[in-house]
Each structure stands twice: as C-alpha cells, then as structure tokens.
Amino acid sequence: MSSWSRQRPKSPGGIQPHVSRTLFLLLLLAASAWGVTLSPKDCQVFRSDHGSSISCQPPAEIPSYLPADTVHLAVEFFNLTHLPANLLQGASKLQELHLSSNGLESLSPEFLQPVPQLRVLDLTRNALTGLPPGLFQASAALDTLVLKENQLEVLEVSWLHGLKALGHLDLSGNRLRKLPPGLLANFTLLRTLDLGENQLETLPPDLLRGPLQLERLHLEGNKLQVLGKDLLLPQPDLRYLFLNGNKLARVAAGAFQGLRQLDMLDLSNNSLASVPEGLWASLGQPNWDMRDGFDISGNPWICDQNLSDLYRWLQAQKDKMFSQNDTRCAGPEAVKGQTLLAVAKSQ
C-alpha cells in the first residue's frame, strides 16, 4: 500500500523542479512496490495495470493534483460545501468518482469537463438542492449517476441533459414531490430508475416513456395513492417493481397488463383492501415463472368474494409469496386476522 501526499515535493538544491518531482514520483512508486506505509495523513493509492485508484478520507487531505493514470477517485466524508476548483484537472482517464458524504451544496458547471470518460458518479449523501445547467455536457460516457440522499425538492429535465448513455439513475432519499413530464425521454439505455424514499404523491403518466428496456423501477417509500393503467405500458419487459411502503388504495385493472417478465413485485405495506378482477392475470404462470416472488403483506385486505381472482392466483403462486404470515385479512369480521392463504385454501 502506498500513499499520495498532498504536498508538492520541494526541490533539493540545484535540481530542476520537474526533475525533482519525477524523482519524488519514482520514490513513491518504489515505495508502493515495496509496500512501504507512509503517513496516515495521506490518501491511499493502489496501482494496477489499469491505472491508479486513489481513496481519500479524513484525516488525509484532498490531493491538489492527481496522477494522469487515475482511473478511480474517492473523496468522501469531508466537510466540504464546495469542491476545490480543478480537483479533476489532468485526470482525463478517470472512470469512477465517489464523492459521497461531503456536505456538498453545489457543483460548478465545468467540474466534469476534464473527465469525459467518467462512467460512475456517486454523490450520495450531500446537500445538493439542484444541479447547474451544462453539468453533464461532457458526460456522454456516464453510465451510473447516484444522487441518493441529497436535498432535491424538484427535478429539472435540463439538469440531466447530455447523459446519453445513462444506465442507472438513483434519485432515492430526496424530497421530490413531483416529477416533470418527459423526464426519461432521452434515456434510451436506462436499466434502473430509483425514486424510492421521496415524497411523490403522483407520477406523470408518461414517466416511463423513453428507455428501451427498463429493468428495475424503485418507487418504494413514497406517498402514491393510485397505480394507473398507463404507467407501466411502455415497459413490458420490466423485471423488478417496488411499490412497497406507499399509500396505494387503488390499483387500476390494467395496471400490470403486458408485463411479460416480472421477476419481483412488492406491494407490501400499502392501503389495499381489494384489487380489481383480472389484475393478476398476466403475472406469473402459465406465461412466466416469477423468478423471485411477490409481497402483498401489510395491507388491510377485505377477504370477501371480490378477492376470488386473487385467491386463485395465490394458490398457484404460493411458493413465490414473501411474508405469508404477515398477509392477513382485516375483514370481514368472520375471517379477520386469518392469513389470505388460509382463506384462499378454504374457497
């Protein structure tokens, strides 16, 4: 293990600065080859054939310059409202940038210009309320953008302009109440969208229009009351759908229509007392074997004849059912407290 010191090397008497810096770097490389440990106040550096990985946490200091072969940089757990200007200068090969848990309040619009090969940007747990226009102008290679646990109350489509190759967008844990229309219109390669743990009460009906093959949709922990019939239509190959922990009281009859490959559906901990007939028809056998399962526990199910469709479906799918003991009837009185499976079996 070697370390990267923030300090510029001092030039020993008479030697040209760039020569002494080269000597210093050679010394560092030699030290890393021998596994010499330098001061704990330095960032950690790992070298491989791919390039350098640099990881900085306090008490280390943020480097004022980066080796040209830096491919992975982590600067985390600092108390920083803004990043030092030119942090990424010269690191044109950078592929991953982890900036979590810093308290960043804003980003400068040019800060990603030096790193056009960036694939992963992790800004988890900062204090961002917005993003500057043009931030992602040079980010056509970015695959993963994580803005989890910031303070975003609104989202502007223009903030994300330039992210042609985006595959994974994580906006979970913010304070989003509404989403703009056409949010994903240009994200043809998006595979995962995480909007969990926000304050969303409604969703624009065209939300999922744009991606050619969305696989995962996280909407857990919001305040959604209704699941409309149009939301999922653009994504017949959706595999994972998390709607747990909302206030869903109503699911439209055609909501799951056309979902051909759903592997997991989580509707637990909502306010569902009943669901329309035909809702489940397209899910699971005989057309498709849900690989991972489903969860409808933690709902106030009224176990009357309106659920006959669901009972039949449950009987066929019970080996894929999570939380069987927590999936119980809230009424009518005669079956209150019984598990849905027990009632289904007795039909």
Partner: protein, 117 residues
C-alpha cells in the same frame, strides 16, 4: 436471529443489481458472494480488501453493511469501495440480510425447504 426471508427481499432490492450469490454465477459489477462467510474475498475490486485481509463473518458484515464506505480506524474495513451503496441503517434489516446471506452463499442452501430460498 435475523429473518432470512426478509433478508432475501432486501438482497433483491438493494444488492442483486451488482451481486450474485449462487455457486458459479459470474461476477457482475460486484463480486459473486458464494463462500462469503469465513473467507477473504477473491475478487479484486479496488484491491483495498486484498491488502486489508478481511475475513467475512456476522460481526464484520454487521459493521460493514451499516456504512460500507467508511473506514473505521483500528478495524480493517474497506475505504474507497466501488460500491454506490450507502449502507443499511436499520439493525434488523442488516441482521435479516446477513441471515439470508448465510444460507444463500453456502452449502446450507440445500437444507432449506422453503422455495423462497
């Protein structure tokens, strides 16, 4: 003791995008976790873990999964991890997940009757 079934759900929701658990499954963005318990990992992520010689068990995972990126002085956790996962705050959620991982990543798998495993 954690609830492995709940842990499975957590795994699918928060881990399965990057990790597989079954023997022989290929690495995704993160390593396959077969044989997790009692072994030092064999996948070179930032190489940090190789150098730190971590051996995974219930206790190490409980601490690691709470805050995977935080280097805890005096222990041997992985700083600068490539994970974009910020950790599980709830103790019960970690316990459940670890219980699931105990089954799913080992030969105990074959003893589990429920098809949810």
């Amino acid at each position: 003791m954690g609830d492995a079934e709940a842990g499975k759900k957590t795994f699918i929701q928060k881990c399965a995008q990057c990790h597989t658990v079954e023997k022989g499954e290929k690495h995704k963005t993160g390593p396959n976790l077969w044989g997790l318990f009692g072994k030092a990992p064999g996948f070179s992520y930032t190489e940090a873990n190789k150098n730190k010689g971590i051996v995974w068990g219930e206790e190490t995972l409980m601490e690691y999964l709470e805050n995977p990126k935080k280097y805890i002085p005096g222990t041997k956790y992985i700083p600068g991890t490539k994970m974009t996962f910020s950790g599980l705050k709830k103790k019960s959620e970690r316990e459940d997940l670890i219980q699931y991982l105990k089954w799913a990543t080992s030969s105990l798998r074959k003893y589990v009757i429920s098809q949810n495993f």
